[in-house]
Amino acid sequence: MFEEYNPLKNKIFRIIDNDGKVINKKYMPEVEDTTIVKAYKDMLFARTADLLTVNYQRQGRIFTYPPNYGQEAISGAVAQIIGKEDWLVPAFRELGTWLAKGVTLKEIFLYYMGNEDACKFEGATNTVPFAVPIASQLLHATGIGYEIKLNKKKQVVFTFVGDGGTSEGDFHEAVNFAGVWKVPVIFIVQNNQYGISTPTSVQTASQSIAIKSVAYGIRGIQVDGNDFFAMYAAVKESYKIAMENGEPVLIEAVTYRKGPHTTSDDPTKYRTKEEEEKWDATDPMRRLKAFMESKKIFDFDEEKLIADYRKEVDRQFVAAENYSAYPVEDVFKYQYVEMPEDLKEQQRKYEKYLAWKATAVK
């Protein structure tokens, strides 16, 4: 696969077309029907949650939120492959992968409600908090990869970044170190065509993002990120390479951010309706559904499912809303494991002030 789709050939790896028809039998992965159904449901759950979250934001119940809408197949595929012991080093737009690792919606909501407790990720093994400074997380993935190699563990690191993020120096250093150290890291670039308002053509003049793998002597591939099967096959193969050879891989997942950058963003300022419509035809869920229908495995009541999902999402949202208040001590106690005396003193003084305020200010 990596030979045939060597990024130098400038070919995108695709398996089904926009109508869900298999156009690349050779590489059609063997996926159990149950897995396909599960993947679709995972994606549907993620999309349902994502759309609802935007609603919550509009209602003023959370702060700014970056939607995943349109990019679900990427995480949908990773979710079927990533294991409990594998590491996830996220960016901030791969909801489905977080859920697969065991991060809960409640935690995610808590995060966008502005509480650090979210990132404990209590039910998720080997999962790192969301990274806000673009591309900086990729180096963490490489470092984790080194530990896996050093201790000869059977693990793979999955890490994510956007097309915009490939412009940062840290992208270069992370993939380069991974190439030199030969560590099992799968770098997934979600090329959703924009970094906020900036199109990929302003980020780089390179023919593709996948081709950047050549600069690091590692395998790379450009995949139709809205094609579940292509993503599944590419990630599966990458996983094998990472696990068996201990080598890094760069996957460019070509997709489209159907929504705004965040709930504060207005994409009509910088892109056209025509463009949006063009990409609409590639919607990953519609394509997968069409495939499933043709295979007669779309045998569930989607409306009903969505209704259930909405309830579940809401339940978790309310749980996040009911999360206990932010105690003063939480401002201080996680700064250090061994807290400096002076910081303790700052806390004491602040508590004294709060006591004063409680009586002095009505």
């Binding site: 700014t64 502005g114 400074p133 915009g164 932010y326 401002v331 700052q346 200010v361």
Partner: protein, 325 residues
């Protein structure tokens, strides 16, 4: 005159300088088509062209480093960091080149460039979107650090910054980007760099602040007045070089000083101001110079952020304590 908020005033300053000086360029992430995430550069690309107002790749070191080159070649770039919390990848370029090229080249390449960035908390933002790192910039020799607190000053200071032959870190208190409105002259004018402003005369205690803290201090002054305390308020406006004279004159009169800043307490701006006063007005001091600042902690996420921020009560509390000393 026109009613402007800080965003309008900064936009206006950029517009004026782009129009009058062909060497001026404006670029950064999303500043072109989008007009910046805070809309500070809105409309400028349309007016001044894609070659002078444009989106850059997502790379802060790249933005600042290329600006260093442009400046050497005679341009006067005004670059934007989307948030001050994302300036760190550019730190090497700032400290190693922006701050030093003039000295290294013995005057041949002055770094007449401006790095703009919204800073500070209070907008319910994600991690890294709320920081106040001015103390570290002020500690770097070769830089000048400017922070306006009003639309009027923002415009005049930014114009002075763009015209300055020295490199300017221009930090914009995003918490009050749209909160403060004022009549602003639409023509070009300058507010000088390195000069503080006495916003209010008083006799009992001097309070030094800047940026979004000014508004909070003003509220605290109302409380202080009710308690019979007369506060002198100084808006620092430039963090480095600091207007020591204005501060010292005031403290020589009041005998007491409190500095209010958003940033981290230790090794911060307040420590510097206090020490300047201790050193040079020691005998005038009737009480220890005090600091009202953030804690030595990371700015908490929105649910905990109010603990970290300075508000009128916290400031008043310290004013009262200092006056009672």
């Amino acid at each position: 005159m026109k009613i402007m908020n800080l965003v309008n005033a900064i936009n206006n300053a950029l517009d004026i300088k782009l129009k009058e000086d062909k060497r001026v360029l404006v670029y950064g992430q999303d500043v072109g088509v989008e007009g910046g995430v805070f809309r500070v550069t809105e409309g400028l690309q349309l007016k001044h062209g894609k070659e002078r107002v444009f989106d850059s790749p997502l790379a802060e070191s790249g933005i600042v480093g290329t600006a260093v080159g442009m400046t050497m070649a005679g341009l006067r770039p005004v670059v934007e960091m989307q948030f001050s919390g994302f300036v760190y990848p550019a730190f090497n370029q700032i400290i190693s080149h922006v701050a030093r090229m003039h000295n290294r080249s013995r005057g041949r390449y002055p770094m007449s460039m401006v790095i703009r960035m919204p800073y500070g908390g209070g907008i319910n933002a994600l991690e890294h979107h709320s920081e106040s790192f001015e103390a570290a910039f002020a500690h770097i020799p070769g830089l000048k650090v400017v922070i306006p607190s009003t639309p009027h000053d923002a415009k005049g200071l930014l114009i002075s910054a763009i015209e300055s032959p020295d490199p300017i870190i221009f930090m914009e208190p995003k918490r009050i980007y749209r909160a403060i409105k004022q009549e602003v002259n639409e023509d070009k004018y300058n507010v000088p760099i390195g000069k503080a402003a006495v916003l209010q005369q008083g006799t009992d205690v001097t309070v030094v602040a800047y940026g979004a803290m000014i508004r909070e201090v003003q509220k605290a002054i109302v409380l202080a007045k009710q308690a019979g305390i007369s506060v002198e308020l100084i808006d620092l406006r430039t963090i480095y070089p600091m207007d020591k004279e204005t501060i010292l004159n005031s403290v020589r009169k009041t005998g007491r000083i409190i500095t209010v800043t958003e940033g981290v307490r230790s090794f911060g701006v307040a420590s510097e101001i206090s020490q300047v006063v201790s050193e040079e007005a020691f005998l005038s001091l009737e009480a220890p110079p005090k600091r009202v600042t953030g804690f030595d902690t990371i700015v908490p996420l929105p649910k905990g952020e109010f603990h970290y921020l300075q508000d009128a009560h916290k400031i008043f509390y310290e004013i009262e304590q200092t006056v009672k000393f």
